[in-house]
């Protein structure tokens, strides 16, 4: 059996795009946004429908997402993957696509997502009706926010983390968003604004929570060989890993340690890299606590030290570590499942196409996806041509 390390550098992202973002208005469906993003990503790659032989997707809006999308676009794939691990799904799709391409199961993979949750309902639309008994919902938590709040409260209790530390994350995201014309929220935001905003589920305020927007996006992935002949500089897959330990937050043994500690360590090992090698970081910031937990779990700082690590604008433009350079789920876009946007922004940074928010000499990017209640964690490392 081959070792997974053999996947390093064998596949590349050759096209990325977002659909229309923000509030697309009535009369636009989730599938419209998926198709729009997918079409634009193929245009970006200089490929057409006939080149695509694998489809990867997940949706909270309709069943059989790859089958539905393939019919819409006239794709007849020989490989189809609807892995559904919440917001992390699309990073799992990236790993699965890389393995499938290397194994010869397909050659050109389309990974696509879209949601019109803001225009359709104004609130989070989460995946799949659950017909199982719940050992959590009878107690009226506000899910998902209360699950993340329970992790935040425990982190504060155990490590002395403060609401100000959480607010640093929101302010840094906003400062990056101000450099991104596609971001939904670009107004001034201060630490005091965050601290003074409406409490949703203690210790998290409305400014500690991600946006509710419409939006979608897509990636095109193919073999490194084929990528060389395409129009965009290839962004290589260096390694990726998936982990999940629980569904409901009450079943995570230590709510201050997520399965990102496993996915991160594995992804770094596969890529032959360390956190200090990463130039630009995209973390799934559905809530401000996520960024703290993932910085620790992925090894950028020690467990319990993320509060100090993010202080004094350390994650903002010009700071210690460029995190969520698009503005993140907190200020740029969050249509319900944010994962694909961590990959899209990573690719843009590594291609040097990020405009005012471009990180100088970005060669290695880390994209990290989260799904459920801190449940599913997927880490992907990407690199430019100098890394392979």
């Amino acid at each position: 059996m081959m070792h997974e390390r053999a996947l390093r550098g064998r596949t590349a992202v050759v096209g990325v795009a977002e659909s229309d973002l923000g509030e697309v208005g009535p009369g636009i469906t989730a599938l419209d946004l998926v198709e729009q993003g997918a079409g634009r990503a193929l245009d970006d790659a200089g490929l057409s429908i006939g080149d695509v032989d694998a489809v990867f997707s997940h949706s909270a809006f309709y069943g059989m997402p790859t089958v539905t999308l393939a019919e819409r676009m006239g794709i007849r794939p020989r490989y189809s993957d609807s892995t559904a691990t919440g917001g992390s799904s699309f990073l799992a799709h990236m790993r699965h696509a890389s393995a499938a391409i290397e194994a010869g199961l397909c050659e050109v993979a389309l990974i696509a997502y879209g949601s019109n949750q803001r225009s359709a309902s104004g609130g989070l639309i989460s995946s799949g009706q659950n017909h199982l008994p719940s050992y959590e919902t009878p107690f009226a938590p506000r899910l998902p926010v209360s699950a993340y709040a329970l992790a935040a409260a425990r982190h504060m209790h155990q490590f002395g983390t403060t609401r100000r530390h959480l607010a640093e994350v929101a302010v840094a995201a906003r400062r990056w968003a101000q450099l991104n014309p596609a971001a939904f929220e670009r107004g001034e935001l201060t630490i005091d604004d965050v601290l003074g905003s409406r409490m949703v589920s203690t210790p998290l305020t409305v400014r500690d929570c991600c946006l509710v927007t419409d939006g979608g996006g897509a990636l095109v992935v193919t073999s490194a060989e084929r990528a060389r002949d395409l129009r965009r500089p290839p962004v290589y897959y260096l390694g990726g890993a998936e982990a999940h330990w629980h569904t409901g937050i009450s079943q995570l043994d230590d709510v201050t340690v997520t399965a990102a500690s496993e996915s991160g360590a594995r992804a770094f090992d596969l890529a032959g890299l360390r956190p200090s090698d990463v130039d630009v970081v995209q973390l799934y910031d559905a809530f401000t606590i996520n960024t703290l937990l993932f910085l620790e779990d992925l090894g950028f700082c020690a467990k319990g030290e993320a509060g100090d690590f993010v202080s004094d604008g350390a994650l903002a433009p010009g700071g210690r570590l460029p995190v969520n350079t698009n503005g993140g789920g907190l200020s740029y876009c969050h249509p319900g499942m944010y994962g694909i946007f961590t990959l899209i922004e990573s690719v843009r940074q590594l291609r040097g196409e990020a405009g005012d928010r471009q990180v100088a000499d970005a060669r290695v990017a880390l994209a990290h996806g989260n799904g459920g209640m801190l449940s599913s964690q997927v880490t992907v490392l990407l690199g430019d041509a100098s890394t392979v």
Binding site: Y135, F139, P141, R154, H157, V200, G248, S250
Partner: protein
């Protein structure tokens, strides 16, 4: 952990349906039930068919004393409603569950005790801070 099965053995009067149906039927009798693995002696919650720690098909129903400590807490204050705390509780028998405490001053580490309450057509295991007036 002492080498004995946690909790008190439950005399089951109801043995129809799956693990959740059994748990709920016991709750209706104000028994806060969990399962213990006779193989590895772990306390298991929520209820299921096999031990998720060792895989053994040896789960027995036990009654919790309904006491524990708050592991984490978040307060929610819906418009026009009294604020309440959604909590994670570490039960003394060695398992964790989510519950609600109708007291927004509850703190991590507080000792709590079960206070079953009606919610629609079912009983749910709310908790209260130990020694607090109900």
């Amino acid at each position: 952990m002492s080498a004995e099965i946690p909790g008190r053995a439950v005399e089951l009067c109801i043995e129809d349906g799956g693990p959740h149906a059994t748990y709920q039927a016991l709750l209706e009798q104000h028994v806060l039930a969990f399962q213990a693995c006779s193989g590895c002696l772990s306390a298991i919650f929520p209820p299921r068919l096999r031990c998720p720690r060792c895989g053994a098909d040896l789960l027995t129903w036990r009654a919790s004393a309904g006491r524990g400590a708050v592991y984490s807490s978040t307060v929610i204050a819906p418009r026009g409603q009294e604020p309440y705390a959604v909590v994670l509780i570490d039960l003394d028998e060695g398992y964790r569950m989510m519950s609600r405490i109708d007291d927004d001053a509850v703190a991590i580490g507080d000792r709590v005790v079960v206070a079953p309450a009606r919610a629609g057509s079912e009983t749910i295991p709310l908790f209260a801070v130990e020694g607090a007036r109900r």
